[in-house]
């Protein structure tokens, strides 16, 4: 058996390391590269089987983007998503922040148990609930409106947000509020004036998380909303950008890119906190 020298071993280790990283980056990132190149390719170049598809064989074009913004409902969907996202975030914050605080500080042993029960509801998937919910939505008179998803989405953003925030509030020292209450503030005032301001980063995490979920959701929006004009991007792009059987791949891929990159950046900023939430805070 040949034993490699330490230096040779280190070098081959580095090579393997680099190769593994490269392979995974290509496998995971390729669809996004493909979206970029498809978005700016001219039609004849895109649909010519003789051309090398990896490069621009003709000058890049902005035609697909123009089509997307001027002749489709894409801007409308972006607006719908933003509007729904803001309202869902607002509902989530108003309900989840006080709840998480109460469950960490004011309910003793029961708080943790209720917290876990709430977290479990996050595991109940839309594909189990969408059928009864479609009736509830109709009963509320919300079918085929953006309001259907605005009302329903907090049902899964609130549970995970409470869970995230409970972990966050636990790390705030109790003495801080006790001191404020000795100074004459009530418990609720201490929560509003002291705890909320120092929890900004936790609250921002909830904002990003809830907003991301609104953009990612597919099943509810597909079920409750039947007009293209009322859709969000998650359903509008893959379902309604296809006319009949014709896929406008250039515009479609441009829409995909625009809809996914900003969320990617936002999510990345708060990644560590999401992980703490998913792993029950056991890694930090």
């Amino acid at each position: 058996m040949i034993r490699l020298g330490t230096r040779a071993r280190a070098r081959s280790g580095k090579l393997v390391h680099g190769a593994v990283l490269l392979a995974f980056s290509v496998l995971l990132g390729f669809p996004f590269y493909w979206m970029v190149i498809t978005s700016f390719k001219r039609g004849p170049d895109l649909y010519n089987l003789k051309n090398n598809p990896f490069i621009f064989n003709q000058m890049p074009t902005l035609e697909h983007l123009r089509l997307l913004f001027e002749e489709t409902l894409f801007l409308r969907w972006l607006g719908n998503t933003l509007f729904a996202g803001i309202l869902v975030v607002a509902i989530t914050l108003v309900l989840a922040v006080p709840a998480a605080y109460a469950l960490t500080r004011l309910t003793g042993r029961w708080g943790g148990r209720i917290g876990i029960a709430i977290f479990l509801t996050y595991l109940v998937p839309p594909t189990l609930l969408f059928i009864p919910l479609s009736r509830i939505v109709a009963l509320l008179g919300l079918q085929d409106t953006l309001w259907s998803v605005i009302v329903v989405y907090p049902s899964f953003t609130i549970p995970f947000s409470i869970w995230l925030l409970m972990g966050f509030f636990k790390s705030i020292p109790r003495e801080l509020e006790d001191a404020a209450m000795v100074d004459g503030l009530t418990r609720f005032q201490a929560f509003l004036k002291l705890v909320v301001p120092i929890s900004v980063s936790g609250i921002l995490t909830v904002v990003i998380f809830s907003f991301t979920l609104v953009t990612q959701e597919f099943v509810y929006a597909l079920t409750f909303i039947s007009s293209a004009a009322h859709q969000t991007v998650g359903v509008g792009v893959p379902i309604y950008l296809v006319r009949g059987d014709v896929y406008y791949w250039g515009s479609l891929m441009a829409a995909c890119l625009i809809a996914s990159l900003p969320i990617g950046f936002g999510y990345n900023l708060f990644l560590d906190r999401f992980i703490a939430g998913f792993t029950f805070g056991s890694v930090k």
């Binding site: 995971l28 996004f32 493909w34 876990i116 109940v124 059928i131 079920t223 896929y247 791949w249 890694v283």
Partner: protein, 294 residues
């Protein structure tokens, strides 16, 4: 006095959230059970108890049995791929290297981008005519130019495509969770072992992986739940086709319950998700409990 106020302040702060979730998760959850033993259709009024008739008709439907099997095949095979891939990738990302932040952003995209949008990207890559994969395979003379593989048009290939797109979507999530687990391992233990001359793989399999097990469990359990209950990838890529060969429980429930207007049958189909969810939730609680104890 102030103690009395304290007593109602807690419930006043958490009850609104709890009621919201009960109304929109708890109530429909119970309704799903009621629908499955009733005769509810879109637009129908009234409710008649029909016992297990819906389940009986569903179980006699070959498409349902296929979907049930597919759900397990999809979930198990994609999670095995995710588990292997995520462990290798997390290991590679563990040590610092130039550009690590960018690589992390890049590999996270498949998880963060809306899954419907990632799936439509793949639909273009797997296109029947302009598939870039086929272009490469044809140039490499690996497939016949005149009958290239129809990735979404042949049952076996369509199954494989759906599994791989699921793997692509879930791999980043498992990777970052496992990566977080690595950074939480106490540093002195592996180092002590390396002083003893234990080589890389022995150290990995005998010391580090067992310590990582709870975290890996969490990643897998979430992966199982998210994959088993997902209909988006199947719906976008194949609509369950060709000939319902890639149908899974959630997508079949959608086709029967929403598009087919038979809410009762759809509810009965989606209830088959519950046993797997319950087992996964139970295992997760156990893991969480252990994490709390230590």
């Amino acid at each position: 006095m102030s103690l009395g106020r304290q007593r109602w302040l807690g419930p006043a702060m958490f009850l609104p959230a709890v009621l919201y979730v009960v109304a929109l998760v708890g109530v429909p959850f119970v309704l799903a059970f009621l629908y499955s033993v009733g005769d509810v259709k879109v637009g129908s009024v009234g409710y008649h108890f029909v016992g297990l008739a819906n389940f009986k008709s569903v179980l006699q439907n070959p498409t349902f049995l296929r979907a049930l099997r597919n759900s397990f095949v999809f979930t198990i095979s994609s999670q095995i791929l995710v588990l292997v891939g995520a462990n290798i990738l997390a290991l590679a990302l563990k040590s610092a290297f130039p550009g690590r932040r960018f690589v992390r952003f890049l590999i996270l995209l498949p998880w963060v981008a809306p899954v419907s949008i990632g799936a439509i990207g793949w639909k273009w890559i797997l296109d029947s005519l302009y598939s870039v994969i086929n272009w490469v395979l044809i140039r490499a003379h690996l497939v016949n130019e005149f009958s290239p593989p129809m990735w979404l048009g042949e049952p076996a290939l369509a199954m494989m495509s759906v599994i791989l797109v699921h793997t692509w979507h879930m791999l980043p999530f498992a990777t970052v969770i496992i990566l977080a687990g690595w950074t939480a391992i106490p540093k002195d233990i592996p180092e002590a072992a390396s002083v003893d001359g234990a080589r890389f793989f022995r150290r990995l399999f005998q010391i580090e992986l067992p310590m990582m097990l709870p975290i890996i469990n969490v990643a897998v359990l979430f992966g199982v739940i998210f994959t088993f209950t997902d209909m988006t990838v199947v719906y976008i890529l194949t609509r369950g086709g060709p000939y319902d060969t890639t149908q899974v429980l959630p997508s079949l429930a959608f086709f029967a319950g929403i598009l087919g207007s038979d809410l009762a049958e759809g509810a009965a189909i989606s209830l088959f998700l519950v046993p797997v969810l319950a087992i996964a939730a139970w295992l997760m609680l156990r893991t969480a409990h252990r994490a709390e104890v230590t």
